[in-house]
């Protein structure tokens, strides 16, 4: 994709998002409230447990897990499926197809701009809050770099997955049910609620074959140093494979969807 076109879309999207700035304050307030609740909950569970480890995590690791879960959620959570569904149902795809930029590339740029804004407005404050108030510490510089790479790949997995799902609106017209279902499954299977190590082994082993754990759980485990470098590289490779698979599926569904697209609502 032409970098000039990419940055044009990013610039316009960022300007639109900055029209009403107060919502960013809400985003920033949200995370500390959630993390404080989790801190108090797990403090109670660990103190009542009598054991230093739950699910293979010490108390400090568990708190860091939730801090990282919030950071990863900001990077990897994407509403592109809802955006896509809205554009399909309101005939805005017609306008997008007339632009001198590919449809997929257009929406990718749109989502990247939201992530870029999140990076500045949310992630940096979250990291600072995590470091100063919740004991966030790096395991090693190598693991930090691998975590950053894994987070970027997690975003690409989440984007392609959501994009493919959003495209079903070409056929179904409505997306609210599938969207809610996806969000629910994603939250559980990506390890956002609790670490996947708390699941029974036979269930956790099944999760390996799904893309969700590579959106949240895997980057977090890399940061916490739960994997050695070779294992980290292996998981990065698996993430790459999922990106390619989901990208190809998206392209296929997009090709078929555009054939039946009628521009309703234009």
């Amino acid at each position: 994709m032409n970098p000039k076109k990419f940055f044009s879309i990013v610039k316009v999207t960022v300007k639109n998002l900055l029209a009403y700035r107060q919502q960013f304050l809400i985003w920033i307030i949200n995370a500390p409230i959630y993390l404080t609740i989790m801190l108090l909950v797990w403090t109670a569970v660990y103190s009542f447990s009598g054991s230093g480890l739950i699910g293979g995590f010490s108390f400090n690791e568990m708190i860091q897990y939730y801090v990282l879960s919030v950071i990863i959620g900001t990077v990897a959570y994407t509403g592109i499926d809802y955006e896509l569904s809205h554009r399909i149902n309101h005939g805005e795809v017609t306008r997008d197809l007339l632009k001198p930029v590919g449809f997929f590339e257009n929406l990718f740029s749109f989502d990247v701009s939201i992530r870029a804004l999140s990076l500045v407005i949310q992630i940096i404050p979250f990291v600072l809050i995590g470091v100063f108030f919740f004991g966030l510490r790096i395991h090693s510089v190598v693991h930090l770099l691998l975590f950053i790479a894994s987070s970027a790949l997690a975003f690409l997995i989440a984007f392609n997955f959501s994009f493919a799902l959003g495209l079903t609106s070409f056929w179904t017209k409505h997306y609210y049910g599938l969207g809610k279902f996806k969000n629910g499954i994603n939250k559980i299977l990506s390890g956002s609620f609790i670490p996947l190590t708390l699941f029974p082994a036979f269930i956790a082993n099944f999760f390996i074959f799904l893309p969700f754990q590579y959106i949240g759980f895997t980057p977090i485990m890399i940061f916490l140093g739960k994997y050695d470098v070779l294992q980290c590289l292996f998981f990065l490779l698996i993430q790459l494979v999922w990106i390619i698979v989901l990208f190809l599926i998206s392209k296929l569904i997009l090709k078929k969807g555009l054939k039946i697209y009628a521009g309703e609502g234009v």
Partner: protein, 260 residues
């Protein structure tokens, strides 16, 4: 008149939801998945540890079922009000509603029911009954009466939060992320107050009474209520509701239209 409007709005909500049967089916399935997730994850936590101090797993189910019943009723009656107000303000359509011969807050409160809330109430009752049977709890009619009393108070408290956030939405026009804040605030009530320590327990009981959404209804059934709890929580919810309506009225008086 308002009841007729509510019935009509509910019927329209059902019609919209059932436009696509597959989406409707997935929507109901996802609500069930969402609501069963936390109890199932808590089961994993209880298997891996001793759980929450002072709460067996079945008692936690009673607690969580109470939470779902309150949240289900809130969802059924009021939850859509917040994002609809945001949409109305951005489009400048709130002005039109203000010219109608209706009390604005009442009209907005009853015009956007959500059928999904009823499903959540059913799930909450089921989880609670399962917990009651598992814990072997027995309770009197008076206890049940206090349970319903606290459920109503819980709905009133969360309604107050929605009114406060709606007022902020009118002031700031576009704070779509406020819905996420509401969800995060409701997380406080997903866990027993005892996990937060005595100071936070006091705050969440008598100052910002999140405890009325789940902790106190479940205590009514588990026999943990005192007169101080009952009167104190009632007073704090009443004050909170009064404050929210005061803030709303002040916001409407100072409202300046945008968009449109």
């Amino acid at each position: 008149m308002y009841f007729k409007m509510f019935r009509k709005s509910l019927s329209m909500n059902l019609s919209v939801l059932s436009l696509s049967r597959i989406q409707f089916f997935l929507f109901i399935i996802s609500i069930i998945i969402f609501d069963l997730t936390l109890p199932l994850l808590m089961l994993l936590v209880y298997n891996a540890s001793n759980g929450f101090p002072g709460w067996s797993f079945n008692e936690y189910l009673i607690f969580y079922g109470s939470f779902l019943i309150v949240m289900g009723l809130v969802q059924f009656l009021f939850i859509n009000m917040l994002n609809r107000i945001s949409s109305l303000v951005k489009r400048g359509s709130l002005d039109l509603l203000m010219t109608r011969p209706l009390r604005l807050i009442t009209f907005l409160s009853i015009s956007f029911p959500n059928f999904a809330g009823l499903i959540e109430v059913i799930i909450g009752v089921s989880i609670m009954v399962y917990g009651i049977i598992g814990a072997g709890v027995s309770f009197s009619i008076i206890s049940l009466g206090f349970f319903l009393f606290f459920v109503i108070l819980g709905v009133c408290f969360f309604y107050s939060l929605i009114v406060i956030l709606s007022a902020l939405t009118i002031i700031f026009v576009d704070i779509s992320s406020i819905f996420h804040l509401l969800h995060t605030l409701s997380d406080v009530a997903r866990y027993p107050l005892s996990v937060y320590g005595s100071t936070m327990k006091f705050i969440f009981s008598f100052i910002i009474p999140f405890g009325v959404m789940s902790f106190y209804p479940s205590q009514a059934l588990l026999g943990g209520l005192t007169i101080i709890n009952i009167l104190g929580v009632f007073a704090s919810v009443a004050l909170f509701l009064g404050f929210s309506l005061f803030l709303w009225n002040q916001t409407i008086k100072r409202y300046v239209s945008v968009g449109g």
